[in-house]
Assembly symmetry: C3
Amino acid sequence: MRQCALRNVLLGLLSAASFGAAAATPDVAAEIRALRSELSALKAQSQAATDWTSIANLQASYGYYVDKSRWDDAADLFAKDATLEIAGRGLFVGQDRIRTYLHALGDLAYGRLFNHMQLQPVIHVAADGRTARARWRTLMQVGQLGKEARWGEATYENAYVKDGGVWKIQKLHGFITFYVEFDQGWNKGAVALPQNLEGLAPDAPPTVKYGAFPDVFVPPYHYKNPVTGK
Amino acid sequence: MRQCALRNVLLGLLSAASFGAAAATPDVAAEIRALRSELSALKAQSQAATDWTSIANLQASYGYYVDKSRWDDAADLFAKDATLEIAGRGLFVGQDRIRTYLHALGDLAYGRLFNHMQLQPVIHVAADGRTARARWRTLMQVGQLGKEARWGEATYENAYVKDGGVWKIQKLHGFITFYVEFDQGWNKGAVALPQNLEGLAPDAPPTVKYGAFPDVFVPPYHYKNPVTGK
Amino acid sequence: MRQCALRNVLLGLLSAASFGAAAATPDVAAEIRALRSELSALKAQSQAATDWTSIANLQASYGYYVDKSRWDDAADLFAKDATLEIAGRGLFVGQDRIRTYLHALGDLAYGRLFNHMQLQPVIHVAADGRTARARWRTLMQVGQLGKEARWGEATYENAYVKDGGVWKIQKLHGFITFYVEFDQGWNKGAVALPQNLEGLAPDAPPTVKYGAFPDVFVPPYHYKNPVTGK
């Protein structure tokens, strides 16, 4: 009976032993922890690259809407508490006011050209993946058949926020660097920096005072030098 | 006492075995399944970002070939059953016809300028990673020494397909938004929308009828508003 | 003998137990190896996408510095042993000489416009993630109030190196394709290719001899056709 009991114990033991892996466990756990840690770091890196492309898409989409006076589509890209500031026209606060500002830029109509190409992004996504900042520039072709035709350029310093998994524009700040008549180059003068929008008062004066070409102004950078960090 | 000692050894052994195996195994399997699932999701996300950059490279490469009349290189970027439609010149179907169309645009030659900058991409890769669509625009500098010099812009709505691991252009549709003489701005008129290519008949009439500037036209968007989804 | 038998059983059992661990391990170990291998491949892919965006940011940053004559910031983006060659001005070797070259382009000043938009990247990161090459183009608005105003374009073929985890410019080679007066289009002539920089001798003559518009020149491509591989 002792032998029998012993056999049963031994059989149970054998069964338990062959089922599992006493020796392997600590290593496996460590391996899995290491994999999880690497996966987590990789997720963050991959998400940042995805965010870069999403923000590039977002700002480019904004540009296409602006070109064609699709103001509600453009306004919908902004966060509720976003701000907008373009040229010398002052600060507009909140999506509703931004919508009003955009509609005041005028409707799509025969003979109107209002192209704002969105170019040269420098996009930085924050480490937590919740916010981002980007520098962009726009090359403008603006005018009206029978009236004026102008070339211009503005540099943007924008901020973005991820809201419910969707990137939105949190701040759009466009600094015009030059604005000239189509038939007069930058050697002959320039159109003055637009200071107001057909009587639409801003919510606050410009946060940055500057002059466009021929004045000298360096739009502030949201980033340090990428190599020196200074 | 021997029995007692033996029992202790056996119990200790049993305890070690059951602690090692039974407890760890299901967890390990679950951990590995979870890792595999996360890895799979991450792969798809990472692939989409890679595809965004590949398609950006592809369309930019197309532009550089077009600039320099490298028509065979440009045609090789299209899928066998691709379509091409530019300005008001109608639809060309299949890579062979696209190759014919492109060659009809003329050769690289002294005094010819034919720049087509590829700008402002909005690229969306399908969830299955097999197809993609993108909006782009081109700023054109076109002309011939002693003849004409023109500025122009076209908006593209393109489709892409991944074929044997390589992205190709499945559809290229360019809508000219303005086309003007270098010495006459968009306030003084515009070059009419090109309607045919030196006698080369298309395979089908234009799929979309529209007028370039000064007419009003919004090239269709392949995407919904990225924030509202409408 | 019973004791002996029992010892044998126990030894066998002990052996089975450790064999059991070894038996279970291969599956888990194989799974972990597979996960590790996939993770490693994914890391490389994800890193390449991240590198694409980093290099896009880097070159765009260079452009913004150039616009505003921030020459030290621009020079700091180059590797110590980098080279620079623009227009027909010859080769400058090393970061110090590049810094000298850049400063010789002149300071930010009232009435000066020096925009160099960085556009249309085709970026290829090497498989080992240590180097990269890219084709870019710049659309230039250059001039001085009361003097000249010019439009121009250059195509870049650049190389990059990852140094201490940071991407730097290893080679910048800009080929001017056209350069014209603001009030004279490419049908009426062009500004000659700049051949020297106000008396600053290069370290070596141009590595590539070419003429800008109206001459014909195709800047060499660092890449094969992305579809045919030829």
